[in-house]
């Protein structure tokens, strides 16, 4: 779920006709006088951060003059609340409170509900879970029939029973509007806490927390959500570009998070890149590694039958973090999908990375469907590379402890010999295209996610290789290559047809090379990665 800032939530409420306090979002002290001119002298000043518990952390304060407000805003802007710097504050009219209530619409995963629930409490401004535990009689919990919506008459009755006869119409009106907003914005939660009843009898949404469903963000470009990820901190540069891999490509998952968001901290050393295959595997393996004291910089999950491109791109981002001291792929489950796409991606990524960081430790556990074939690919593909790697299969699938011990040894060896880097990180992340001369001899086409497949006929050793590329493409892909006049050829002249036929599996490049050829070069750009590493270039040794 993507959390919206309070001010964004209130903008939505305003559009749907829910009363909110008069207020302005400001990001500089000199905007204070103008804001107070419009609102009045008595104001609430609220830090716009996503963390909850702002009040206790000093993120909500009051002022009763321009001078006082300037002081408060100056103090608040730039300071950190629960680890996150305040960039914006919301200056609002201070409400004259008679009573604080609670109202929310939230989706419940309960098997009895599987839908939205309206939650109302006569006690607002406090933790709703606590009220629910201590005073269940103060709470109305009303599951909404998704097909029919809210039955206004029915909730009116409930509210009257809770002693709210005076304000029942206003409450029902707000409830209906919140529900409308939650559907319109694909929200998981729309919560107003507190919903204030003022002394002059108005109902006003004094605070607002809206979370939008991750998977629906694509329907709401107007919200300007760059990355639909549920974290209470701003996303890192690496996380932003990782989302681009996933955004419009529904073939499997590439889920990348930094467990340590401070790149400078990672660069100090001691961290490893963690990569799992599937949520279950990631949870099993990461908990085993964390228990043994490993410091994980990343949480990368590639699963659900992703393309090899997707796996390769995720790995490149993880490996490009500055100062990473090892890589652990923990496919700690019997995977259902064919694992060779992971095999091709691992080989390609480490062919490039081991040139940049020779001796780098890599522990690889991969088990399940097509395990034997996948292991052969990895073993042959990595052999001879300056990489300190070990490979495990289903015999160790639940023995992450054993693998962790072995991995510790690899890390110690690597550290004791003094990790070295050769060349430049930018060379590692940069796409290498053929020269103009080479390009003249190449067949080439673009893939569906902007990759480029080059077949250099000048370097092609067919038929000695047994047309390894064409065979691999038919076996593991859907046949973008064919044999024509004793040479490999593209299966179609139509670029669109080739985009469809190429499943981005990397098999042709791998098998060409494994048969002693060097004719195929697949460029898989990771958009934005070059800029990101350049921005942090001082952190790379």
């Amino acid at each position: 779920m993507v959390r919206l800032y309070e001010y964004q939530g209130k903008q939505i409420l305003r559009v749907f006709g829910v009363p909110v306090p008069k207020g302005y979002v400001i990001s500089a002290v000199d905007e204070v006088p103008k804001a107070l001119e419009k609102i009045g002298q008595s104001v609430a000043i609220k830090a716009q951060v996503l963390a909850t518990g702002r009040m206790k952390a000093g993120g909500i304060r009051f002022a009763s003059s321009v001078d006082e407000a300037v002081l408060v805003v100056r103090e608040m802007l730039g300071r950190k609340i629960k680890g996150v710097a305040v960039e914006k504050v919301l200056v609002e009219e201070k409400l004259d409170i008679r009573k604080e209530l609670y109202l929310s619409i939230t989706v419940s995963d309960s098997y009895k509900v599987k839908g939205p629930i309206l939650l109302f409490s006569t006690e607002g401004g406090v933790d709703i879970e606590e009220v629910a535990e201590k005073h269940p009689e103060k709470i109305l919990r009303y599951p909404i029939d998704y097909a029919k919506g809210i039955d206004a008459a029915e909730i009116s009755e409930h509210l009257v029973r809770l002693g709210l006869a005076d304000t029942v119409d206003g409450l029902v009106d707000i409830a209906l509007k919140l529900y409308e907003a939650s559907k319109r914005y694909d929200a998981h939660t729309v919560e107003v806490n507190p919903l204030v009843l003022t002394r002059d009898g108005r109902l006003v949404a004094a605070d607002c927390r809206i979370t939008i469903d991750d998977s629906s963000v694509f329907r709401h470009p107007e919200l300007g959500i760059e990355v639909p990820r549920d974290v209470a901190r701003p996303l890192t540069d690496f996380e932003r570009i990782a989302w681009k891999i996933e955004e419009n490509d529904y073939r499997g998952v590439c889920y990348f998070m930094q467990l340590v968001d401070d790149v400078d901290e990672v660069a100090k050393g001691g961290y490893i890149a963690f990569h799992g295959i599937g949520g279950g595997a990631c949870m099993l393996a990461s908990e085993a590694l964390l228990r043994r004291g490993f410091k994980l910089a990343t949480y990368l999950d590639t699963s659900g039958n992703p393309t090899a491109f997707k796996v390769y791109r995720g790995m490149k981002i993880a490996l490009a973090l500055p100062g990473i001291e090892g890589y652990c792929l923990a496919g700690a489950v019997i995977a259902n999908q064919e694992q060779w796409y992971h095999g091709f991606a691992i080989v390609k990524a480490f062919k490039e990375y081991s040139r940049y960081r020779p001796g780098f430790p890599a522990s690889i556990l991969i088990a399940g469907n097509k395990e034997a074939e996948t292991h052969k690919i990895i073993r042959e593909g990595l052999s001879g590379l300056p990489l300190r790697w070990e490979l495990y299969g289903r015999e160790r699938v639940l023995d992450v402890d054993f693998i962790a011990d072995r991995f510790s040894k690899l890390l110690d060896e690597y550290r004791s010999e003094g990790p070295k880097t050769l060349g430049n990180i930018v060379d590692f992340v940069k796409a290498k295209r053929p020269s103009e001369d080479e390009l003249k001899r190449c067949l080439w086409f673009k893939t569906s996610t902007g990759g480029e497949v080059y077949v250099d006929l000048g370097k092609c050793i067919a038929p000695d290789c047994g047309f390894a590329c064409v065979k691999a493409c038919r076996w593991m892909g859907t046949g973008a290559l064919k044999i024509e006049k004793g040479r490999p050829a593209l299966a179609s002249r139509d670029p669109e047809a080739l985009r469809r036929l190429c499943t981005e599996c990397l098999a042709c490049e791998y098998f060409c090379s494994s048969k002693g050829g060097n004719a195929i070069n697949i460029v898989v750009p990771v958009y934005g990665l070059e800029d990101v590493v350049k921005k942090h270039i001082h952190l790379y040794g």
Binding site: S108, K114, G279, C282, S286
Partner: protein, 301 residues
């Protein structure tokens, strides 16, 4: 009537929606290899084609008209379009629909789950790898290649419920390697709301004579394991049950791979769930491998 296995068996007539796509064709081949009765496929505009010998139709209604009644559909359709496909299948009278797609918009899930309820049908997923009754049939792409399925899913008397796709095969593999077997294994799906949860499946497993015990691969976040504890406590499920809860030590407030695995409340950490489950008499394995040793021990008694 004696019920054997749940949700699917060798007689179940299966439809594949999106059969001509990359994953649809892959899943179809896996199901056919396993002996599942895949009787038809649907891809709009592709009537007359066939995929691994299965005839393709333009719509579910057309498929039902041509091949006769269908019991279960697997909707291999990408997330943004899957709601329409599922509702089409339900409208045509299909009573069980398996939905493998992940990243399905939440309110689409709510709409299809609500519709399924209104017509008395069941959705498995979204985000479900599928289900399998070993030796009988499978739906989805559970297990993958034949040789892996045979090694991982021996027929037997343990029901399996998993929140993880890799987890379901791994748990079954552990059980099979230890000499136990499986009646039916279900991957319930990874989305924030799912059509059929563990609590509901417990009632099916209770009614199934072939199932003598149930093993669960649970996770942090969400209510599923806690509601299963309620079902156990109420007496609606009375067979031995063993849980493993994954995701211990991961920080709260962050989502980890599965949209359903985010710790939001005090009540959805691994530690809390284990405590509640033990209180109602369920067994809790501290390591996945213990799932087999504990289950074996129980079934011996």
């Amino acid at each position: 009537m004696t019920s054997m296995a749940i949700l699917i068996d060798e007689k179940t007539r299966v439809l594949v929606q999106g059969i001509t796509g990359r994953t649809g064709a892959f899943g179809t081949r896996a199901m056919l290899e396993y002996g599942t009765k895949v009787v038809a496929g649907v891809t709009p505009g592709r009537r007359g084609e066939s995929v691994w010998g299965v005839p393709v139709f333009n719509s579910v209604e057309e498929a039902v008209k041509e091949v006769g009644p269908i019991d279960l559909s697997v909707a291999f359709v990408p997330a943004p379009q899957v709601k329409e496909a599922v509702i089409e299948a339900l409208r045509a009278g299909i009573k069980t629909v398996v939905v493998p797609a992940e990243r399905v918009p939440l309110h689409d899930i709510l709409a299809m789950v609500s519709y399924a309820k209104s017509v008395g049908a069941r959705i498995i997923g979204p985000g479900s790898l599928g289900l399998i009754s070993p030796g009988k049939a499978s739906a989805g792409w559970i297990g993958g290649a034949r040789e892996l399925i045979e090694e991982s899913f021996r027929p037997g008397n343990v029901g399996v419920i998993s929140r993880s796709g890799g987890g379901v095969t791994t748990v079954c593999w552990i059980l099979s390697q230890s000499g136990l077997g499986i009646s039916t294994a279900v991957h319930v799906g990874t989305e924030p709301v799912i059509g059929t949860t563990g609590a509901e499946l417990l009632k099916d497993f209770q009614a199934d004579e072939e199932t003598h015990a149930v093993v669960v691969f649970g996770e942090i976040g969400g209510l599923m394991e806690l509601e299963m504890a309620e079902v156990i406590k109420s007496g609606d499920f009375r067979k031995p049950i063993v849980f493993y809860i994954a995701g211990r030590m991961l920080p709260s407030g962050m989502r980890f791979s599965h949209a359903s695995a985010i710790i939001e409340r005090r009540a959805d950490t691994a530690e809390y769930k284990e405590k509640v489950l033990e209180e109602v008499g369920a067994y809790v394995a501290k390591k996945p491998t213990e799932l087999a040793t504990i289950t074996k021990e129980i079934l011996k008694r």
